[in-house]
C-alpha cells in the first residue's frame, strides 16, 4: 500500500477563453444534430470528433472505441460577451469596490495598510465591507456611482441627470468586461483572487465550451426516433440565437433588435448553466417539464455529489411493511418466507459440513413451508463460477459438491441480520436481530423495540440486511445487537421498554391489592420464562389458593433486587406517606419482592424504566432482555384479564359536574369582563415593565387558564381509575389529564404564539363580534369540550390554533434534519484512539479524553458515573 499523502492545498480557478479554445477540438457552428440520413453534421453538436457513444464506431479525435474514448470538448464563439450566472455576486462585488473609470480598488495605499493591520497580525484580504460606498476615486478623482444588481444578470448604474432625477443606466456585459479587464493584478490579490488562475473578466463568457457527447448521450426510443439530452437541446437554442445575433450584427440591425437578441442569448446561457435561478423563468421541454441543465445535474439529493458520489446502494437487503408481534422476543424479527427464500448466506464447504450442505443443495431453492429445512440458491465452484440451482440440476450439483465449493444457503431461524428504519438518526436505528421465519408478507417485531426505531404500524416499512461473512456477523451481534442497545448513550437509561398497553396492563395488574386463583395465575404467567408457581400467599377455608397481584409481578423480578422509588402516578405530596400512599405510588422492592407501589411508566417504560436499568446494571444485559420479554408478556395477559377500551360515553359526566363546569366558566367570564371594565375605566395598575394592554391580556389569560384547569379537576373527580383514559394518563401509558380535560371539561384558550387570537378583521377577530370586544369568546376561548362539540366561531379558532402546531412541526423537522446532516458530515470520521483521545483521520486531536472523562455514557446511570443511592439502598434494603 502506498503511504498516505497530505493534501497541501486545493486551488480553484476559472477557465480562460484561451484555455477553452485550446482544449476544444472543433468550433461548433451548426445548431442541427443529424442530417436526413441520420449522419451527424460536421461542426454540429454531435460532431464525430466530440466522442462516440455508439458501440462499434471509433472516435475521430482519438481513434478509440466508445468504451475507451473519454470524449472531447468543442466550443462556440459567442457573438457578444455574456455573463456567467454563477459569478454574478463576484461581479457585483468587484464593480462596487473598483473605480468606474480607472478600475483600481477604491482605497488609497494608506487605507489599505490601515485595514490590513499591523505587520505581525497582518491579514491577507480586504472585504467588500472595508470599502465605503459612493465616494470619489482616490487615484483618478472620478465620482463613483451606485451599482444596482437585479437578478438574475442585470447590472446598472444609478445616474443623476441635469434635472436631478435618478436614472437607471444599464451596463452591458461588454461594458462590465471592459471594467474587469482593467483591474490590476495587485488589487485582485488583496481581494482574495489569484489573477494567475482567475482573471475576473473570465466570468463574462466570450467563448462557450461544448461538452463531449459522452456526457449528453442521445437515446434511441422504441420507435427508432432519437431523443436528445436536455443539455443538447439547450446548446441548440444557444447556437441558433448566437447565429441569428451574428447575422443581425453583420447586417447592421438597429440597436433595439441587437439588445433583444443579446438578452435572449443571455437567457439561454443562464438557463443552460442553471435552470433554477431566481427571477428567471425555467426553460422547458416541449412536454412542459423543466430542463435538467448543468447545475441541476450536480445539486440536491439526487445530484452528482449526494446522489452518485456519496450515495451508496447495497445487495443482500430487503424491505417490507412492519407489523407487531408481542410474542417475539425483543431480539428477534419475524421474516416472511418469501424473503428468506430469496436472501442467502454463503457457506464454505468443508469435510465437516459436506453432508449437511449436500442436503441443502438437494433441497433446492423452493421452500414452501416454514417447517421445511432451508435450501440453497447458488453453488459457487472453486473457480468462482456460479451455478444457479433449480429443480432440474439439484441432484447433479449435489453430486459435484466437495470441499472448496461455496453454497449460498437460504436464511433460516436464528440467522443474524441487521434491521433498520429510516431516518437513521442514531445508532439504535440499525440493530441486529435473530430471525424467526413467519407466514405472511410483513416483518414482525416486538412493540417494545418501537421507541429506538421510532416505528409504529400505520404503514411503516423497514429494511433488513444480511451480513455475508463471519466477521460481519460477529460484529453485528457483538456491537449492534438489540440487547447491547437497551441502554441509550444519550442519557444512560433504557431506550427500550414497555409502551402503551404494556404500561396500562402492568398498572392495572399491580395497582393496590388483588388476588388471583391458580388458573388466573397460569393464564397470566403463561408466556413468561417461569415454569413453577411459588407457594400461595393465602389459602382460604375451602383450601383454595390465592396469589396476590404484587406477587405475580415479583415473580418476574430477579431475586435479591432492592429498590425504592416513586411511580409516575405519584403527585409529589408535601409529606410522602410512603407505603401508606393513598395512590399506591411508593414502590418498595426488597429481595426481589414487590411489597408496595404500582408499576407503571417510571418502572418499566421506554426512556424511564428504573427497574430495567437497575436489573441491567446488577444482573447484565441478558437478564434485562429476559425482564423486558417477561414484563411485556405479563402485562399483555394482565390487560386481557379485564379488557381495556374507551368509548364516547367514557367522556360523559353527570348533571352535577356539568352544572359546576358551567358555573366555573360563567364566573371566569364575569371576572374577565370585570377586569376589562377596570381597564376601560383607567383604573388598571400596569405590571412592572408591561403596558396596560399587556397587563390586561396576561390577567385574562391567567383567569381563563385557571378556569380550564378547574373544569379539568371537576371532570377528574368524576372520572376515576375505572375510566380507561384516566388509567392511561395516570400510568403514563398515553395522553395526559389535559387531554381528558379537553374531552370532558372545556377546550380552553386557543393561542397563536402564546397570545390570544387577535388577528382577523378591523378591531375584531370575526364579524360575529362587536368591534373592540375584548371578551373571552371574541378572542378564542372555547367553553365547549370535544364531547359537547364546538360552535362555529370556536371551531374556527381551534383550526387557527391547530395550524400553528402543524406549521411548527413542519419547520422543526426540516431544520433539525439539516442540522443533523451537517453534524454527521462534521463528525462522521472521528474516532476514539487507543490512548483515549478523540481524533480526526488526519490525527488532529478533538478531545484529549473522550467526553473529558473517558466515560461511556451508555454505561452511566442517567448521566451519573456511579449510582451511589442505588448501591447504598441495595445493601441497606431501605430508602436513603
Amino acid at each position: 500500500m502506498t503511504s498516505p499523502k497530505r493534501v497541501g492545498k486545493i486551488e480553484f480557478g476559472l477557465l480562460s477563453p484561451k484555455e477553452i479554445r485550446k482544449m476544444s477540438i472543433r468550433k461548433i457552428i451548426w445548431a442541427d444534430t443529424y442530417d436526413d440520413d441520420g449522419f451527424p453534421y460536421p461542426q454540429g453538436l454531435m460532431d464525430l470528433g466530440l466522442g462516440v457513444i455508439d458501440p462499434g464506431l471509433r472516435c475521430k479525435t482519438c481513434d478509440q472505441k466508445a468504451s475507451d474514448c473519454p470524449g472531447h470538448f468543442g466550443h462556440i464563439e459567442l457573438a457578444k460577451p455574456v455573463i456567467h450566472v454563477g459569478y454574478t455576486r463576484l461581479i457585483r462585488k468587484l464593480l462596487r469596490v473598483t473605480c468606474r473609470s480607472c478600475s483600481r480598488m477604491l482605497l488609497s495605499p494608506s487605507d489599505i495598510d490601515k485595514i490590513l493591520g499591523p505587520d505581525d497580525l497582518r491579514s491577507e484580504n480586504i472585504s467588500e465591507k472595508d470599502i465605503k460606498k459612493e465616494r470619489v476615486c482616490p487615484h483618478c478623482g472620478e465620482q463613483q456611482l451606485k451599482i444596482n444588481f437585479e437578478k438574475p444578470t442585470t447590472f446598472s448604474e444609478i445616474m443623476t441627470d441635469v434635472n436631478g432625477r435618478k436614472i437607471d443606466h444599464k451596463l452591458t456585459p461588454a461594458d462590465i468586461r471592459a471594467r474587469l479587464e482593467k483591474i490590476p493584478d495587485d488589487d485582485l490579490l488583496l481581494l482574495g483572487i489569484n489573477p494567475k488562475v482567475a482573471r475576473p473578466e473570465w466570468t463574462i463568457l466570450t467563448v462557450l465550451p461544448v461538452p463531449p457527447v459522452t456526457m449528453r448521450p442521445s437515446i434511441i426510443l422504441e420507435n427508432g426516433q432519437r431523443s436528445e439530452d436536455d443539455l443538447t437541446h439547450k446548446l441548440v437554442d444557444i447556437i441558433r440565437i448566437n447565429q441569428r445575433f451574428k447575422e443581425n450584427q453583420d447586417a447592421g440591425a438597429p440597436q433595439l433588435i441587437i439588445e433583444d437578441l443579446w438578452e435572449l442569448l443571455q437567457y439561454h446561457l443562464t438557463t443552460y448553466l442553471d435552470n433554477e435561478v431566481a427571477g428567471c423563468p425555467p426553460a422547458r421541454h416541449r412536454s412542459g417539464r423543466p430542463l435538467k441543465t448543468l447545475s441541476q445535474r450536480l445539486k440536491g439529493k439526487d445530484g452528482r455529489f449526494r446522489g452518485s458520489l456519496s450515495g451508496k446502494r447495497v445487495n443482500f437487503s430487503s424491505r417490507t411493511v412492519i407489523s407487531p408481534d408481542p410474542n417475539l422476543s425483543i431480539g428477534e424479527v419475524g421474516v416472511p418466507l418469501a424473503i428468506a427464500n430469496e436472501m442467502s448466506v454463503p457457506v464454505r464447504v468443508t469435510p465437516f459440513n459436506l453432508e449437511e450442505i449436500r442436503f441443502m443443495v438437494l433441497t433446492g431453492p423452493d421452500r414452501k413451508l416454514l417447517s421445511e429445512p432451508c435450501g440453497a440458491n447458488y453453488a459457487i465452484r472453486p473457480d468462482n463460477r456460479r451455478v444457479r440451482l433449480s429443480d432440474q440440476n439439484t441432484e447433479t450439483v449435489a453430486e459435484m459438491i466437495e470441499p472448496g465449493w461455496t453454497v449460498d444457503r437460504q436464511l433460516r431461524n436464528g440467522d443474524i441480520v441487521l434491521f433498520n428504519r429510516q431516518p437513521s438518526l442514531h445508532r439504535m436505528s440499525i440493530m441486529s436481530h435473530r430471525i424467526v421465519l413467519m407466514e405472511g408478507k410483513t416483518f414482525r417485531l416486538n412493540p417494545a423495540i418501537c421507541p429506538p426505531y421510532n416505528a409504529d404500524f400505520d404503514g411503516d416499512e423497514m429494511n433488513l440486511h444480511v451480513p455475508q461473512t463471519e466477521e460481519a456477523r460477529a460484529e453485528a451481534y457483538i456491537l449492534a445487537s438489540v440487547q447491547e442497545n437497551i441502554l441509550s448513550p444519550r442519557f444512560g437509561g433504557p431506550i427500550i421498554g414497555g409502551i402503551h398497553d404494556h404500561i396500562s396492563g402492568i398498572f392495572l395488574l399491580t395497582h393496590e391489592l388483588r388476588w388471583f386463583t391458580k388458573s388466573e395465575m397460569i393464564s397470566l404467567l403463561r408466556f413468561t420464562h417461569l415454569t413453577h408457581l411459588p407457594p400461595a400467599d393465602r389459602v382460604d377455608e375451602n383450601g383454595m389458593q390465592y396469589w396476590s397481584n404484587k406477587q405475580v409481578f415479583s415473580m418476574i423480578l430477579p431475586d435479591g433486587l432492592n429498590m425504592f422509588f416513586r411511580a409516575s402516578s405519584c403527585v409529589n405530596c408535601d409529606t410522602c406517606l410512603k407505603e401508606d400512599c393513598e395512590r399506591d405510588a411508593y414502590i418498595r422492592i426488597i429481595d426481589g419482592k414487590l411489597l408496595s407501589g404500582t408499576i407503571d411508566k417510571k418502572a418499566i417504560g421506554a426512556f424511564d424504566g428504573t427497574i430495567l436499568q437497575r436489573i441491567i446494571r446488577q444482573y447484565g444485559l441478558a437478564r434485562g432482555v429476559q425482564f423486558i420479554d417477561d414484563v411485556t408478556k405479563l402485562s399483555i395477559r394482565a390487560i386481557m384479564l379485564d379488557g381495556f377500551s374507551f368509548g364516547i360515553d367514557d367522556e360523559d359526566l353527570t348533571r352535577t359536574e356539568y352544572g359546576q363546569i358551567e358555573e366555573v366558566l360563567e364566573s371566569a367570564s364575569q371576572d374577565v369582563n370585570r377586569r376589562i371594565k377596570i381597564y376601560q375605566d383607567g383604573q388598571l395598575e400596569p405590571m412592572p415593565g408591561r403596558t396596560l394592554e399587556e397587563t390586561l391580556e396576561m390577567q385574562i389569560m391567567q383567569v381563563l387558564g385557571k378556569a380550564r384547569d378547574r373544569t379539568g379537576e371537576i371532570a377528574g373527580r368524576h372520572l376515576g381509575l375505572s375510566n380507561s383514559a384516566v388509567v392511561m394518563a395516570v400510568s403514563g401509558a398515553r395522553g395526559s389529564m389535559l387531554n381528558l380535560t379537553q374531552m370532558a371539561g372545556c377546550l380552553g384558550q386557543q393561542s397563536v404564539r402564546g397570545e390570544r387570537i387577535v388577528r382577523g378583521y378591523d378591531e375584531r377577530t370575526l364579524p360575529h363580534f362587536k368591534k373592540g370586544d375584548r371578551g373571552a369568546e371574541a378572542h378564542g376561548f372555547i367553553k365547549n369540550s370535544y364531547k359537547s362539540g364546538l360552535n362555529p366561531t370556536e371551531f374556527f379558532f381551534h383550526a387557527i390554533g391547530g395550524r400553528e402546531g402543524l406549521v411548527d412541526t413542519a419547520v422543526r423537522t426540516s431544520q433539525s434534519g439539516y442540522l443533523q446532516r451537517r453534524m454527521i458530515n462534521a463528525l462522521q470520521d472521528l474516532k476514539v484512539a487507543y490512548d483515549g483521545t478523540v481524533r480526526t483521520t488526519g490525527g488532529r486531536i478533538i478531545q484529549f479524553k473522550y467526553g473529558e472523562d473517558n466515560t461511556d455514557p451508555s454505561k452511566s446511570c442517567f448521566g451519573e458515573p456511579v449510582d451511589v443511592k442505588g448501591i447504598v439502598e441495595n445493601i441497606l434494603k431501605e430508602e436513603v
Binding site: D120, L121, S123, E124, N125, S127, D835, T837, G842, G843, R844, I845, I846, Q847, F848, K849, E852, D853, N854, T855, S860, E864, P865
Partner: protein, 87 residues
C-alpha cells in the same frame, strides 16, 4: 484585560471561565511526545480570544486549560494560539 464601556474586567475572574495557563517550551515538548502529534494537530484557539489576551499569550503559544468537571473532577485540554482568519 478587556476594555469595557466604563470598567475593565478580567475574564479569568469570572466563575464560568476555566483556568488558562501558558505552557513552557519543555511542557509543550512533553505534551507533543505523549500524544505523538505535531503542533498543528493540537486544537486551536484564536489570538484575540479574551482569555488569550488576558493571560498575554501570543500566536504559537500552547495554552493549558483546566476545567472543573462534574464526572472527572478535573479535565485538562491544550490549545495552540493561532491567528483568527479574516472572514
Amino acid at each position: 484585560m478587556v476594555m469595557g464601556m466604563s470598567t475593565t474586567f478580567n475574564v479569568l475572574d469570572h466563575v464560568m471561565v476555566p483556568d488558562h495557563q501558558i505552557m513552557s517550551e519543555e511542557e509543550v515538548a512533553v505534551l507533543l511526545s505523549t500524544y505523538t502529534i505535531t503542533q498543528d494537530q493540537l486544537p486551536k484557539m484564536y489570538h484575540d480570544d479574551p482569555a488569550v489576551k488576558s493571560i498575554g499569550a501570543n500566536m504559537g503559544d500552547v495554552v493549558k486549560i483546566t476545567r472543573k468537571s462534574q464526572t472527572a473532577g478535573k479535565a485538562e485540554s491544550y490549545r495552540l494560539v493561532v491567528k483568527r482568519p479574516k472572514k
